[in-house]
């Protein structure tokens, strides 16, 4: 299964980006082979609709779960209809590799 994590930079030590639609990068972690791919988010500076456009981007990559700090109002219903699970991460600041470790512990 592919899990997207919003990341502030394109490296495993990068902190979780708290915004979904306007995050800097998406780290897409594949639980089957343990690989992580970083994709730059082209919607970061969108005037409008950064959220839905970001859903389009990650859904086209086959992502089934998304971990971020915040999800905007428009995005929630779209993610629900696509059956992509939203996971809000509000704990102490964590990096992408630390979050991947947590995923593997569960």
């Amino acid at each position: 299964m592919k899990i997207a994590i919003t990341a502030s930079e394109n490296k495993p030590e990068a902190k979780l980006d708290s915004r979904f639609g306007r995050c800097a990068y998406f780290a897409i972690y594949d639980t089957e082979n343990g690989s992580t791919e970083f994709i730059q988010n082209p919607n970061k500076e969108s005037v409008e609709g950064a959220g839905p456009a970001s859903v389009q981007l990650i859904a086209s990559k086959g992502v089934k779960q998304i971990i971020s700090g915040e999800f905007g109002g428009k995005v929630k219903s779209i993610l629900e209809s696509l059956q992509i699970q939203m996971i809000m991460f509000n704990g102490p600041e964590k990096s992408v590799d630390e979050i991947i470790k947590l995923i593997n512990q569960n």
Binding site: E48, G49, P52, Q56, S60, I78, L82
Partner: protein, 284 residues
């Protein structure tokens, strides 16, 4: 001649200035229209009595996708500048995000398979009141939950300024609804208050109007409250101060009863007569 009454900050006195200016022009026997463009909370009607003459419902078109005809080619999504269409060919999913649609019609043009038609969505209403034979009030009111008031405001001010003095009471802030209002105006009156909040938001409005290349001047409301920083800012930047309305308990008392200060207080009638004269000169 179209004059927009605007402000960065809410609650500075746009309605006070708009309604009293309307009353002065009306009493002078000139044709005048007041358009309440603050569609999220219009309130000019609380101060102006008129006979209801018309209520116009405003709609916008929203694309509807026929999934039997759709090939999931993604062209509509590519054409949509507002990210209002989501297409996932792999799982045959297509979705319109209605709140983001600007009714531009690009998706209809993009689709080569005839899969897109349009439906109407109610976005608000324009209520028209006749105040006397030469003057009227239009009130724009958005439907609860509608994302943008821009198409409604554009419709409300469409016919303004043909042979009459038009006053556009703008929504607060400097975002799209504000721009939709002031871009139609020949001149903009920015209403502010002499407080740090008033000054901060005045600067934002000034920067926006300068970018739009709109001529403007400033009315300071509640003058005497706070400090002189607004006056200093205007002098430094050579911005015209059109009028100062003092911080006066009598104004608040009159306003709270829904009575126009140009009707109840002589000194302010004179102030608004002068303001009207100044604005008329801007037209010529």
């Amino acid at each position: 001649m179209k004059i927009a009454i605007a402000s960065g900050k809410g609650g500075t006195g746009k309605t006070l200035v708009s309604t009293n200016l309307f009353q002065i022009v009306r009493k002078a026997g000139k044709p005048v229209i007041l358009i309440d463009c603050d569609s999220e909370e219009p309130n000019d009607q609380q101060f102006i009595n008129g006979n209801l003459i018309d209520e116009q419902l405003v709609t916008q078109n929203i694309p509807v996708i026929d999934t039997d005809k759709c090939t999931y080619c993604g062209k509509c999504q590519e054409y949509c500048h507002y990210n209002a269409i989501l297409v996932l060919p792999e799982i045959k999913h297509i979705q319109v995000v209605e709140d983001l649609c600007h009714d531009c019609g690009a998706c209809l043009y993009a689709c080569q398979y005839g899969a897109i038609t349009e439906k109407e969505k109610m976005i608000g209403a324009i209520t028209k009141f006749e105040v006397d034979e030469r003057s009227s009030l239009y009130e724009s009111r958005i439907e609860v939950g509608v994302y943008s008031s821009v198409p409604l405001i554009r419709e409300a001010i469409k016919d303004a300024g043909n042979g009459h003095f038009a006053i556009l009471d703008a929504p607060p802030g400097t975002s799209c609804p504000f721009i939709a209002t002031v871009e139609q105006a020949d001149y903009v009156v920015l209403v502010t208050e002499p407080t740090p909040f008033g000054l901060n938001d005045l600067k934002l409005s000034v920067e926006t109007l300068q970018e739009l290349k709109k001529p403007f001047g400033v009315v300071i409301n509640r003058a005497g409250l706070g400090n002189n920083a607004v006056q200093e800012y205007l002098a430094e930047n050579k911005i015209q101060l059109l009028a100062e309305i003092p911080f006066d308990r009598k104004i608040a008392a009159s306003y709270s009863e829904g009575v126009l200060i140009t009707d109840s207080l002589d000194e302010y009638r004179e102030l608004f007569v002068q303001l009207y004269k100044t604005l008329e000169k801007k037209a010529s």
